[in-house]
């Protein structure tokens, strides 16, 4: 990373709004550390208790998704310790209209992309009643079918998000895709 590139970051990241970014390996201890910081900052920045809680709950589900489904990383790097971890990026940022966007991204294989697309299909187009039904259906699935269908975490994110969630796959190196998902509060 040279200084010029680093300076470019400033151009895309607003300087005077609520923002929290993380990039790298995510493990449960990272979740706890970043989550602690996030909570403190949200308490200072937001007055609405409900909004703080919703931001935090979406954050936890996004981070746990990265831990579970994050691949070994863009270059197939090995996970540095024995703790379960995944590679990913997370950004929590206040938009122009005051809404908070939560974005996370991680690398997936072509097969994972295909499987995820069909799971996401229902989540992206569902109404809140449909999401409630989907949650109920997924909760009651027998253990052998639990891995089929959208994860409870993704359904939870879609239910808590105040606008429909968005998702995208962008081709990356090593025949992987960069999967990103966005929720709003």
């Amino acid at each position: 990373m040279d200084l010029a590139k680093f300076a470019q970051l400033r151009e895309i990241l607003p300087e005077d709004r609520f923002m929290l970014c993380y990039s790298g390996y995510v493990s449960e201890s990272v979740l706890e550390a970043v989550g602690g910081t996030l909570k403190e900052r949200l308490d200072l920045y937001l007055t609405e208790k409900k909004k703080i809680k919703v931001v935090f709950s979406i954050f936890v589900e996004l981070m746990q998704n990265l831990i579970r489904y994050g691949s070994a990383g863009p270059k197939g790097m090995h996970i540095p310790n024995e703790e379960k971890a995944g590679f990913g990026m997370l950004m929590i940022i206040e938009d122009d209209d005051g809404a908070i966007s939560l974005l996370s991204g991680n690398y997936v294989s072509a097969e994972e992309k295909t499987a995820m697309e069909s799971r996401l299909e229902r989540l992206l187009v569902s109404t809140s009643d449909e999401l409630r039904d989907l949650m109920r259906e997924q909760m009651r699935k027998p253990p052998e079918l639990k891995s089929k269908g959208a994860s409870l975490g993704l359904i939870e994110i879609a239910r808590r998000s105040t606008r429909p969630i968005e998702a995208a796959f962008v081709p990356a190196t090593n025949s992987q895709y960069f999967f990103s998902i966005k929720a709003y509060v």
């Binding site: 809680k53 936890v60 589900e61 409870l152 975490g153 239910r159």
Partner: protein
């Protein structure tokens, strides 16, 4: 007299107390354990021990400010086990406190309660945090 059960809160798990003398239990705080299987195994064992000591009724207060999706499934499984005990004759009432404006939690509790025919779950829309 059976022993009280007490599990101290951590930054990611709630405080849990079970009092055989008053047939009551309380779970309060936040619940997004690093290892949810471990936490809920301990909790389920404590509930099983409580009934194994001869108790036939329980008033269970759940005051969770926040729980994540994997805890939601484990909580449902705990409620399933209480429904089973109710079917077998135990008198159990669950009082589930939630924030008034927390629809997702309210609907979650309503949806699991709808599947039970014996377990009494009362939703209470007030929660101090």
């Amino acid at each position: 007299m059976s022993q009280d059960f007490f599990l101290a809160a951590t930054s990611r798990t709630p405080e849990v107390s079970i009092y055989p003398a008053t047939h009551s239990a309380v779970m309060s705080g936040e619940c997004y354990p690093e290892d949810s299987e471990k936490f809920f195994t301990e909790l389920n064992r404590a509930v099983a021990d409580y009934f194994a000591q001869g108790a036939s009724s329980l008033n269970f207060e759940i005051k969770l400010v926040y729980f994540n999706s994997s805890s939601a499934r484990a909580l449902m499984e705990l409620m399933d086990s209480l429904e089973q005990r109710s079917t077998e004759g135990a008198k159990i009432e669950v009082r589930w406190f939630h924030d008034e404006d927390d629809d997702v939690t309210k609907e979650f509790v309503e949806d699991i309660a709808a599947d039970y025919s014996n377990l009494d779950i009362v939703l209470i829309p007030t929660l101090d945090s």
